[in-house]
């Protein structure tokens, strides 16, 4: 059922990775986001991230901004699960995340051996459980865990009560999924939905990573059936916006980009924007 009472939404850092977590929190607050995800670990080796641990300067600054603005840190990212992943090394990341108030840690599956991914995922779940957090698996067509069903399979293999999935709209549709796949999944396993828009047509499998990382559109500017996705999203799931601009707007001031994203999302959640109301 549609959830007209859903009004709060969060901001993913992709597209805004030049902002440190304190800046991200402050700017998100100004634009009207209720929460943020902070990237404290790179998504790819050598990629941008803001590692921190409780007590260090970046952590303290971030914590003050969270207190001052009321913007919650919902999630910390990102853990690419592979043969080399050692859960114990992630402890400082989770400690800092938990101390900032985060209840989720985001991961992806980067090995085609799902048994291995599930084993690493189970270890991450156990570490997250120690911190009162869930471990959320994000599937992407251009990683090993490609589809919602892949992610659910990893969850089953791992068998941990705090293992969940993140549904990114672009990854869902580009991996051949749709709202019906989300509806078919156990509601309790859908941790969050990350919204963006895009043309309906895929740019081609070799372009998917590029599209996902730097060419998304605000809700309403593309053709993805986002209304159907939102309707299929369980009420308790976190709704976030993830839009790295790929056009000239990438050069806009942060404030202007965030104002546009917040307002288009607010209108969409209020039912005023999206394919259903298209002229």
């Amino acid at each position: 059922m549609p959830s007209p009472s859903r009004t709060a939404f969060g901001l993913c850092p992709l597209g805004f990775l030049d902002l440190s977590p304190p800046e991200l929190v402050t700017q998100a607050a100004r634009a009207g986001f209720a929460s943020v995800t902070v990237r404290t670990r790179p998504a790819v080796p050598g990629g941008p991230a803001y590692p921190m641990q409780p007590g260090d300067a970046l952590f303290e600054h971030t914590r003050r901004c969270v207190q001052d603005t009321g913007v919650a840190v919902q999630m910390v990212e990102q853990v690419g699960l592979s043969r080399d992943t050692q859960a114990a090394s992630l402890r400082p990341m989770l400690e800092a995340g938990r101390a900032l108030g985060a209840t989720r840690v985001l991961c992806s599956g980067d090995d085609v051996d799902f048994a291995l991914v599930a084993e690493r995922f189970a270890a991450l779940c156990d570490l997250a459980a120690e911190h009162g957090m869930s471990a959320d698996m994000e599937f992407m067509k251009f990683r090993a865990v490609q589809t919602l069903e892949d992610a659910l399979q990893v969850l089953r293999l791992a068998g941990r009560p705090n293992g969940r999935v993140v549904v990114d709209a672009l990854h869902l549709f580009r991996s051949g999924g749709g709202a019906e796949n989300v509806r078919a999944a156990p509601a309790a396993l859908i941790s969050s939905v990350q919204l963006c828009d895009a043309p309906l047509a895929s740019p081609g499998d070799d372009q998917l990573a590029q599209e996902a990382r730097q060419a998304r559109l605000p809700i309403g500017e593309g053709e993805l059936p986002l209304r159907a996705l939102l309707d299929a999203t369980p009420d308790g799931a976190l709704v976030e916006v993830e839009v790295p601009f790929g056009d000239a707007r990438a050069g806009w001031p942060v404030e202007r980009r965030l104002a546009l994203l917040a307002e288009s999302t607010r209108r969409f959640l209020a039912g005023h924007l999206g394919e259903a109301s298209a002229a």
Binding site: E221, H272, G274
Partner: protein
């Protein structure tokens, strides 16, 4: 021909409701305009013939047409301040302006309470600034903010960096203003000029003035306004929006728009010699 230092845009009223935004943008591109004005908010008591706000497919089509032609959406019209103005209600409009990458929004006032109008304008500017939009106040003799001096006082009292004035040559003339009155104003408050000419005699009644503004403007150089003197006192290169509504003539849209561009360009080309 020497390229004009002015951005040249076509005001909404020059074509009115006769065509939708995409068709107008394409006509502007064919005629050589740099920008186009769109009616994004209905004047009080009117309905929009071509709604844009809240129509994602329309916004997409306008964005695509602008990108494809290089004609930018230069300004939107028109917000009217009233006693009931609620700034939060205007956020979808401001967001749409950002979606269209439109930098300017016209605003006028029908609020008889000066301080409330100043306050609403200031708060609207604060919100608009987040979306990268400047608010351009338009004075008209038959509205609450009637003269250039009124508009400048309101904008200055609101004290917002993105608040300014759109200077309509006809409204300046018909409200008793002149280029001399504009010359002393702070440059940064003069956002753009809406250019047209008009003939003598000056209408003497309210209805006659309104009828003139909506139906009897002329192309620059074809009337008796002091347009050269006006441009001389404005910032060099100030953007020009050509606002000359055309009577029903049976001419195709593209031909009407082409004539407007040709007339503006011819007038601009004559200017340096005159202005010397």
């Amino acid at each position: 021909m020497v390229r004009s230092p002015h951005l040249r845009s076509l005001a909404y009223l020059s074509v009115g409701d006769s065509a939708g935004p995409v068709e107008v943008i394409e006509a502007c591109a064919a005629a050589g305009f740099d920008g186009v004005g769109l009616r994004l908010a209905a004047p009080l008591g009117l309905e929009l013939a071509h709604p844009v706000v809240g129509r994602p497919a329309t916004v997409r089509a306008i964005r695509a047409a602008a990108a494809h032609t290089g004609v930018r959406v230069f300004d939107g019209e028109v917000i009217t301040l009233t006693p009931d103005t609620n700034v939060a209600d205007l956020l979808p409009l401001l967001s749409t302006l950002a979606e269209l990458d439109c930098p300017l929004m016209q605003i006028t006032s029908e609020d008889p309470e000066w301080h409330r109008a100043v306050d609403n304008f200031a708060r609207l500017c604060e919100q608009a600034r987040r979306f990268g939009v400047r608010m351009a106040f338009e004075f008209m003799r038959w509205r609450s903010v009637k003269t250039f001096e009124d508009a400048l006082a309101l904008v200055e009292q609101a004290g917002q960096p993105n608040g300014g004035i759109v200077l309509d040559a006809l409204h300046l003339s018909r409200s008793g203003g002149s280029p001399a009155a504009v010359a002393a104003a702070p440059r940064e408050r003069l956002l753009y000029v809406q250019l047209c000419d008009a003939a003598d005699p000056v209408p003497q009644t309210g209805p006659a003035l309104i009828a003139e503004a909506r139906g009897a403007r002329r192309y620059p150089g074809e009337g008796s306004l002091w347009l050269d003197a006006l441009l001389d006192v404005l910032p060099p290169g100030i953007p020009i929006s050509l606002e000359v509504p055309q009577p029903p003539s049976g001419l195709p849209l593209r031909e009407r728009v082409r004539r407007g561009a040709a007339s503006l360009d011819a007038w601009l080309a004559r200017r340096p010699a005159r202005a010397a």
